[in-house]
Each structure stands twice: as structure tokens, then as C-alpha cells.
């Protein structure tokens, strides 16, 4: 509670930052982002740079605002009536909170994978083709077939489902469903993929597969992943940001953050003293 008070009263709270040894280009730049649910403030002046074609992990105890922050990147917070966002957020140097920006188009560029696999109650093929269809990325059945196959290949699901493309997506196992959701997001060729605890509903084997997939996707996409598992953050991410009670406490290269954290709270959290 005291951290909130400090952050609220004293804007001078400084996030501890460790730069990358060899800097990467910046894909997303957030400056002083605050989020309010009605009267209640959930995020306090968060500023962070997300590097391109790398995995950035958000960690922190539950309720600290990781998901809230992630939802700012594709303006999913707009779907919550009481939610209000202030500050600036640039994706590829364009302000996404510019009133002239088309949210629908933004969400095609910034895809999202959710905590619980949420395939639509349609066939596997329709699940993947859904995004390309609404964004007009393909016209003929053959073009769609190409997109479906490519996306499933990228999600490492093609071999498992190529003979049952017209069966419902909800009939797959949990891990397959989650990879289907990743394929669905990939199908519209986004630049960024946001993942909110994508493995928390999966068993260890399915989790390993998804982590492997994330590592492959990093070559072509900028990935931001929220996770409650520090091991997972250590395994898949290049940079890690630690949130606590709505403030960004520390961020830096993953190996630095986990081996020599500079902030006491980061240290306490990664050694399991709270959270």
C-alpha cells in the first residue's frame, strides 16, 4: 500500500532501468501511461521501450497491473466502459491513442493471445480465416488455404490438424487450442503479438511447446508476454519488466534482472519472498 501512496504523491518515483548491451530498435514506446478503472488508479506513470523482434516479459504479483498495461498496447481497454488511459503510447512511432487512428486497423497490427484458449465455435479453418476475411487479406478459397496452412505451420500445429481442418476448433486439446489462437493471431500478419499468461491454463508439455513456439516467432514478431512464472520469463524473454502495485519497479535484460536485480523489491520477488 505504501508504494501506491509514494507513487501517487511523488511523481519522482524512478523506474530502475538497465539498457541492453547492444541496443535494438524500439518498436513500442510508452511514456507516462496511467490507467484508471473508474476512480481507482491501476497503473501509475509507466514508461517503457519495447524492442523490436524480441520477447519482453512482464512479471509481478497478481493484481499489479500487468494485464492492464498489456491491454493498452492494442486498446483493448476501450472495451471496458469504466476504463480510462492517459499518457502516450507509440507503436512504430505513431501515437495509437490519436483520435484519428482506426482501432480496428491497430488491432490487426497488434495481435493478442489470451490467458484461456478462446477459439471461436467454428471449424479450425474458419478460426484462422476469420481475421484475413474481415480485413480483406485474401479473396479466393485458394488464397485463404495458403494463409491457413502458413499460419498453422508457424504455430507448429499444421501436422497435427491438417486432416481435420473442418472440425470444430473447440475439439482440440487445451495446448492445441492455444496454438490455434496463436495461429489465428499470426494469420493477419501482425507486427506485435501480445500474450497474457498464455500458458497458465496448460499442462507442462503443452507449455513447453508454446514456449518453443514463442522463441521461433521472435524472429519475425515483436512479442510482449505477461507471465506469473519467473522460470518462464527467464526461459523465453530477452527483456523483463517487474511491476508492483501499479508501478514499473525495474526493467532490464532478463539475465541481469534475474541474476543481479538492483531494486530490493525485485530481489524479494524473484527470490520468492512475496508474490
Amino acid at each position: 500500500m505504501s508504494a501506491v501512496a509514494v507513487a501517487a504523491n511523488d511523481k519522482a518515483f524512478e523506474t530502475v532501468r538497465t539498457p541492453d548491451p547492444e541496443p535494438r530498435p524500439i518498436k513500442i514506446k510508452a511514456s507516462d501511461v496511467s490507467v484508471f478503472y473508474g476512480e481507482k488508479q491501476a497503473l501509475f506513470d509507466v514508461s517503457i521501450d519495447i524492442p523490436e523482434r524480441a520477447v519482453t516479459a512482464f512479471i509481478g504479483p497478481s493484481g499489479c497491473g500487468k494485464s492492464t498495461f498489456l491491454r493498452c498496447f492494442n486498446r483493448m481497454n476501450d472495451t471496458i466502459d469504466i476504463c480510462r488511459v492517459t499518457g502516450e503510447m507509440l507503436v512504430s512511432d505513431a501515437n495509437i491513442y490519436d483520435p484519428r487512428l482506426d482501432v480496428v486497423e491497430l488491432r490487426a497490427r497488434v495481435g493478442m493471445v489470451f490467458q484461456k484458449p478462446n477459439p471461436f465455435p467454428k471449424s479450425i479453418w474458419d478460426n484462422i480465416a476469420y481475421g484475413p476475411k474481415i480485413h480483406g487479406l485474401a479473396k479466393t478459397k485458394a488464397e485463404f488455404d495458403v494463409i491457413v496452412e502458413e499460419s498453422l505451420q508457424k504455430a507448429g500445429l499444421w501436422n497435427e490438424v491438417k486432416d481435420r481442418l473442418h472440425e470444430p476448433g473447440t475439439g482440440l486439446s487445451g495446448g492445441q487450442q492455444q496454438r490455434l489462437c496463436i495461429a489465428r493471431a499470426v494469420a493477419v500478419s501482425p507486427e506485435v503479438i501480445l500474450m497474457d499468461e498464455p500458458c497458465s491454463a496448460l499442462d507442462p508439455i503443452a507449455t513447453a511447446k508454446v514456449e518453443e513456439l514463442i522463441d521461433e516467432l521472435r524472429e519475425n514478431y515483436t512479442i510482449v508476454i505477461v507471465t506469473h512464472s519467473m522460470q518462464q520469463a527467464a526461459r523465453v524473454s530477452q527483456r523483463t519488466a517487474f511491476f508492483h502495485l501499479g508501478i514499473l519497479v525495474e526493467e532490464g535484460p532478463t539475465n541481469v534482472l534475474f541474476t543481479s536485480p538492483k531494486e530490493k523489491r525485485t530481489q524479494d520477488y524473484i527470490t520468492g519472498r512475496f508474490g
Binding site: 483493448m76 488491432r107 489470451f114
Partner: protein
């Protein structure tokens, strides 16, 4: 006297409760062992045992006292009166005796009857007091027996639990038995009808003219019981109703779930509930006095001959009646689609209407279908609106501006006026009722199955 007996039972139960409870609390303070149940459970146990058997006895007594006394009266009459008398003759005697006791006498009753009337008054007084005494005795005996059972380790709590669940089972069986009884009588009377009119004629005949002569000398048509025109009329009106209600109800639900602001939602929903609470008879005169003339005027502008009680007016108003039904069930179905599904679609960059059309509606479709089927079954069974606004003559037509009749209207008209329970005219109502029951039952079962199957998917 019934009231006094009831008061007595309540008073005895209260006393029993306090007796049991004080025994319980004495165990609690004095006993070495740990007491099993709280004192109030001891009280409740004794009270329930005192109250329920006495109540059952009271009901039995009240139910049987009349017949018992009547039997005694008959056997007390002089032999030459009852010797060889028919049942209705004996009934007349009893009637006369009862009339004398209430002072409603026509002419001079015979001395035997007068004597019997005096006996009746005396016996009834005795019976009244006997009832009170017996109930008092029963409650005291039961109180003593159950009180003796109480002990520190006595499981009063579990016993009370068992009695309460027994009571609930009893109520549930009562409801089921009543339903079975109704179905049974429906089947029985319909069976009697099908003895007179063959099933095939009823189900496939094209002529419905149930007005047959009741007495030999009446002039009327011979009567025809082909129910097809009645069924088609019902279907026509229900179809028109669904045509009105389904799109409006569904779009209302979509608007409320997906587009309306909280303020709009919180005003529109109560209004829909008011619409659902309007008595159907009010819809009925709305149909007769406003909609039917309006339809007719509009038809005459177009050069159509619209019947004054057109299927269009009745069906249209019935449709308005079931709008809230469809909208609230569709609302539930749409709301039951997990938020994750909606978020998933929005996060793909689809607009709200694309999300609705491609994701929410398909996901909610089974629930919505269930709602529509339930609404259809209501439309088919709806009576008051059609009695007021639809026709009486069974026309075999699908023209919405013609007058048609429905199953429910025919049931009502068949049972109004001179009826006797052995004419096919009256019994036809039961056959129609049976068909109506079977159809709505099937629709409801189907709807419930669909809705349930759909629920399993998301829980």
C-alpha cells in the same frame, strides 16, 4: 371448530417446542457428556412430531366426518323407509334431513325425518368435541413419547433434517401427482371421444363443424370433427406471431447486450418486463378494438377484403405479447457467451457488429433457438388473445387476412353453453387439449434439451 382445532394444534406444538428446548438446555448444563444437538433442535423435534400427526388426523377427520355421520343417520332411519330404497332415494332423505337442520323446510317433514334431524344436530356436536378431545389426547401422548426419547446424545438435529426433507419430498410428489392426474383425465376423456369419432377422421379430416344436436328434436348439422382446419389456423396465427416477435425480440436483445449504454439498458429492461406482465386479456381487447380495425382500414386502402377478425391482427398482437419472452431468453443466451470469445474477436480487429454476426450469434444460436421454440409453444397455447380476436369458424386457409380459428378457441367454445359429458362435441375439447398438450410438451422438451446441451459447452 376446525379453526379451534388448528389453534389447539399450534398451541400444543409451541408447548412441545418449549418442553423440548428446556429439556435440551438442561442436558447442556447438567450432563457430563457432550450434548449432540442444540437445545432448539430438541424443541423442533418434539414440536414437529406433535404437530404433524395431529394435523394429518385433523384433515382426515374433517374429510371423513360428514360421510360417517351420514351412514349412521341412514342406518338409524326406520327399516320400512330404507328397505329397498334406491341410492338416489337415500340421498334425497339425507338432503332433507340436512335441510331441516339448517331450517330450510318446504312443507311439513315427516316425524322420522324430524327425529333424524335432531339426531344429526346432536351427533355433530358430539363429533366436534370428540375431535378436539382426540387431538388433545394425541398431542399429549406424542409429546410424552417423544420427550422420553430425548437424551444428551439424542440426534435431534439429524432427525429434524430427515423430517424436513420428508416434508419437501411430499410436496414435490404432490405436484407431480397432480400433473399426472390432469394428464390421466385428459387421456381418459380423449379416449372416450375416439370411441365415437375415429382417430384418423379427427387428425386428417378437413371439416370442423362440432355443433351437433344435443336433444333429438334440435335442428343442427350432423357435426364433423376433422381438426386439420383448426390446426392450420393455429399454425397460421402462431407463425404470424413468430414473424413479428422473432426479429424484434432478437434485435432488441442484440442491441441491449452489445450496443446499449448502461443507462439505456437499465430503462429498457424494466419496460420489457412491464410488457411481459400485461394481462393477456388486455392484449386481447387491444387486438379487437385497435389493431383489427386498423388492419381492416389499411387493407381497404389497398383494395383487400380483410375479415374483421383476421389472423393478421390476432397473430400480430400475440407477437407483441411474446417479444419480451424472446428478447429476454436471447439476452441470456448472448450474455452466456464467454467474454473471452468477444474479446478474442475484438482483438482480431473486428468491429462490434462483425463480432456479433460472426462469433456471438453463432455461439448463442442454440440458446436463441431454444428461446424461440419456447416462445412458439407459448404462442400455440395462448388463449385469451385469440378467443377475443380470432374467428370461430374453422376455415382451411393460409391467407393472413382471412379469419381462422385456433385449437384453444375451439376448446373454449366447445365447453361454453349447453354441455353434456357424453356428447362428442364436449369430448372433442379433450381430444384437442390432448393434441395441444403433446405439441407444447414436445416443443418444450426440445427447447430445454437444446439449451442444456449448449450450456454444457461453456461450463
Amino acid at each position: 371448530m376446525f379453526g379451534y382445532a388448528l389453534l389447539l394444534i399450534i398451541a400444543m406444538s409451541l408447548i412441545a417446542y418449549f418442553v423440548g428446548r428446556s429439556a435440551g438446555s438442561r442436558f447442556a448444563t447438567n450432563s457430563q457428556e457432550k450434548i449432540h444437538s442444540l437445545p432448539s433442535y430438541h424443541g423442533a423435534f418434539v414440536a414437529v412430531w406433535v404437530g404433524i400427526p395431529a394435523l394429518i388426523l385433523l384433515l382426515l377427520w374433517v374429510g371423513l366426518q360428514g360421510t360417517a355421520i351420514d351412514q349412521l343417520l341412514l342406518s338409524s332411519l326406520p327399516e320400512q323407509m330404507t328397505e329397498g330404497a334406491s341410492a338416489s332415494q337415500l340421498n334425497l332423505y339425507l338432503q332433507e334431513i340436512h335441510n331441516v337442520t339448517t331450517g330450510r323446510v318446504f312443507g311439513e317433514p315427516s316425524p322420522e325425518i324430524k327425529a333424524a334431524a335432531e339426531r344429526l344436530i346432536r351427533w355433530e356436536a358430539i363429533a366436534r368435541w370428540a375431535m378436539l378431545v382426540v387431538i388433545l389426547a394425541l398431542t399429549i401422548v406424542v409429546l410424552m413419547i417423544t420427550r422420553a426419547q430425548l437424551s444428551p446424545r439424542f440426534r435431534a438435529r439429524n432427525n429434524v433434517e430427515r423430517i424436513v426433507s420428508g416434508l419437501m419430498i411430499f410436496c414435490a410428489t404432490l405436484a407431480i401427482l397432480t400433473t399426472l392426474g390432469i394428464i390421466g383425465s385428459l387421456l381418459f376423456e380423449a379416449w372416450a371421444f375416439f370411441q365415437m369419432v375415429p382417430v384418423s377422421e379427427f387428425l386428417f379430416g378437413l371439416n370442423w363443424e362440432p355443433q351437433i344436436p344435443i336433444r333429438e328434436d334440435q335442428v343442427a348439422a350432423a357435426g364433423a370433427f376433422g381438426a386439420i382446419p383448426v390446426f392450420t389456423g393455429t399454425l397460421l396465427i402462431a407463425f404470424i406471431a413468430m414473424l413479428v416477435a422473432t426479429p424484434i425480440g432478437l434485435l432488441t436483445a442484440i442491441y441491449l447486450v452489445e450496443y446499449a449504454s448502461d443507462r439505456v439498458r437499465s430503462t429498457v429492461k424494466p419496460i420489457m418486463e412491464i410488457l411481459a406482465g400485461v394481462p393477456t386479456v388486455v392484449y386481447g381487447f387491444f387486438a379487437v378494438l385497435i389493431v383489427a380495425p386498423a388492419v381492416r382500414d389499411f387493407g381497404s386502402v389497398l383494395g383487400l377484403a380483410v375479415s374483421p377478425n383476421s389472423a393478421l391482427a390476432a397473430g400480430g398482437v400475440m407477437g407483441i405479447m411474446i417479444i419480451p419472452f424472446i428478447s429476454s431468453l436471447s439476452d441470456d443466451a448472448l450474455n452466456a457467451v464467454p467474454r473471452a470469445m468477444r474479446d478474442g474477436s475484438l482483438a482480431m480487429g473486428s468491429t462490434r457488429s462483425e463480432t456479433m454476426l460472426n462469433v456471438l450469434l453463432p455461439a448463442a444460436l442454440p440458446g436463441i433457438m431454444g428461446g424461440i421454440l419456447l416462445a412458439l409453444s407459448r404462442a400455440i397455447g395462448e388463449t385469451m388473445i385469440v378467443v377475443m380476436a380470432a374467428g370461430l369458424i374453422a376455415n382451411l386457409t393460409f391467407n393472413p387476412v382471412d379469419s381462422v380459428t385456433t385449437v384453444t378457441v375451439q376448446i373454449v367454445t366447445l365447453l361454453i353453453g349447453d354441455t353434456s359429458f357424453d356428447s362428442p362435441k364436449t369430448l372433442a375439447a379433450f381430444a384437442l387439449g390432448l393434441v395441444l398438450f403433446i405439441i407444447t410438451l414436445c416443443l418444450n422438451v426440445l427447447a430445454i434439451r437444446i439449451v442444456q446441451k449448449y450450456r454444457e459447452k461453456y461450463d
